[in-house]
Amino acid sequence: MSEKLITEEKRVFMTGNEVVAWAAVAAGAEIMYGYPITPQNEIMHYWTRLAPKYNRKFLQTEDELSAGFTTVGGVMAGRKAFTATAGPGNTLMQEPMSMAEAMRLPTVTIVQQRGGPSTATVIYSQQEVTMTTFGGNGEGLRIVYSTANHQELFDYTIKAFNVAWKYRFPTFVLGDGYQAKMRESLTVYDPEQKGIEFVPAEPYVGKPGTPGVDREPGHYRNTYNVEEELYEVLQGYFKDYAKMAEEVAEYQAFDTEDADVVVLSHGVVSRGAKEAVEQLRKEGKKVGYFRPITLRPLPEKELKELAGKAKKFLIVESAQGQFAKLIKDVIYGASVEIVPFFKPGVGITTDEIVGKVNEIL
């Protein structure tokens, strides 16, 4: 039994689901809880192939509610635990993830978005943005990375475990069916060799000593009797969230300085957006590119600044404005005109984005 899956940096060519399984092993994830749903099934398949070789564990549950709650339990026991889901599975997952928000549990969830509402398609969409950022009966106290390629799937799956355990907010890697199923190259590596330090996990329950005598008692609550008490706890959470946001929010941008139109996108759609902006710039057109990597928290300062400079925001997404809603909320009051380009549940090509920009430039 070899100790490490990846002993040296190397280029590989595989599907996104396989990338996630590799990254989870590399990140030191100890257990996956899951229930099958397309297009994320192969994450489980690859994990179950790798897990026995590297002394990791797997539990298949009876549904996604259970997969979520067992992930919560694994984390409370002090294990780096994760789950993966999609579509209607993500819907069920909101109940346990809401509990993770309430108890500040560093769960990691990989979401491979498929068409919605309901069963819809098993193929692709960006229609799980609202649910993944603000799902459940809570306040969106989560961290959500929206990846665009296999390298990022690898990098951010590793990062998700560290960020979750550092800040103690449930963390999500938001992929999609395209990223899940497509094959492309990436470089895999051992995070520790790259100088990435693993944030250690620790148990929430079952700690040694007597509570109140040897150590502080652990109060991990999702129930309150008094309105004011809940209110007060949440104020603390919001403060922590705001502090975390400054350190965690990430984005990519180029050619925005003098841009009349800035193309805003996230996830896999940003690949086409990037190509489109590069192409249009070569033709001398004043077009810029902005892409939040974190959808929760958003890079608010940069978005506000940009909204004060650009004439138009072209918001491109494979959903009917779920991403746009997040952006609009941040830039409220700015003079920038918002032009939507929404294709719910459908992929968006480079040519389509070029065409749309030319139409509004």
Partner: protein, 184 residues
């Protein structure tokens, strides 16, 4: 921006278009080039038109799907109707001669239309199982995105374990590639 070769393969489920796309993608990757392959999959396991989008370039590839292919290969009548929308004025359109379809139903705007007797050759000269490998050879010859040598290496990587048990299979597959290349 680097040249990107956009390849679309479409056929009935089970005809092996996804394998062809995957072998081509891995051949390109082995050459150190960038490849992006995405299957268009539905809920059905078999039946229905199966489409593979494949892009090969020297640089990182953008959006996973595209509007117009440089080469579009359709291996059934349904696949022809389904892929017409991906044919543009620079597209080489390839279909199998065994498909019975009125001339006017073929894409009219293609740069070139190639009818190749892959199925016939597979049945009569080689083996029906290597039908898709003949197609692979034709795509290699038509696009030159990878060398025949590298395509063979990629097949070896995918099917090597079968070749070990039956070396004749290797010969059959290599012959099929060569045949396919001659057809273009």
């Amino acid at each position: 921006m680097a040249e990107v070769t956009k390849i679309m393969l479409a056929g009935e489920g089970g005809q092996g278009v996804q394998s062809v796309a995957q072998i081509l993608a891995e051949a390109a990757d082995n050459e150190g080039r960038e490849a992006l392959y995405i299957p268009n999959f539905g809920v059905e396991q078999r039946g229905g038109v199966s489409i593979a989008f494949l892009q090969i370039s020297d640089e990182r590839i953008g959006a996973p799907k595209f509007d117009i292919g440089d080469i579009v290969v359709a291996l059934s009548d349904r696949a022809i109707y389904r892929t017409k929308q991906y044919v543009g004025e620079n597209t080489i359109f390839v279909y199998d001669t065994s498909i019975d379809i009125p001339k006017e139903d073929l894409p009219q705007n293609a740069a070139k239309i190639l009818a190749i007797p892959a199925l016939e050759i597979a049945k009569n000269e080689l083996h029906p199982r290597v039908f898709n490998v003949i197609i692979l050879g034709a795509v290699v010859a038509a696009t030159k995105v990878v060398t025949a040598e590298d395509a063979k290496k990629a097949i070896e990587k995918k099917l090597g374990y079968k070749f070990e048990q039956n070396p004749k299979l290797r010969e059959l597959n290599y012959k099929a590639i060569d045949k396919g290349m001659e057809l273009v």
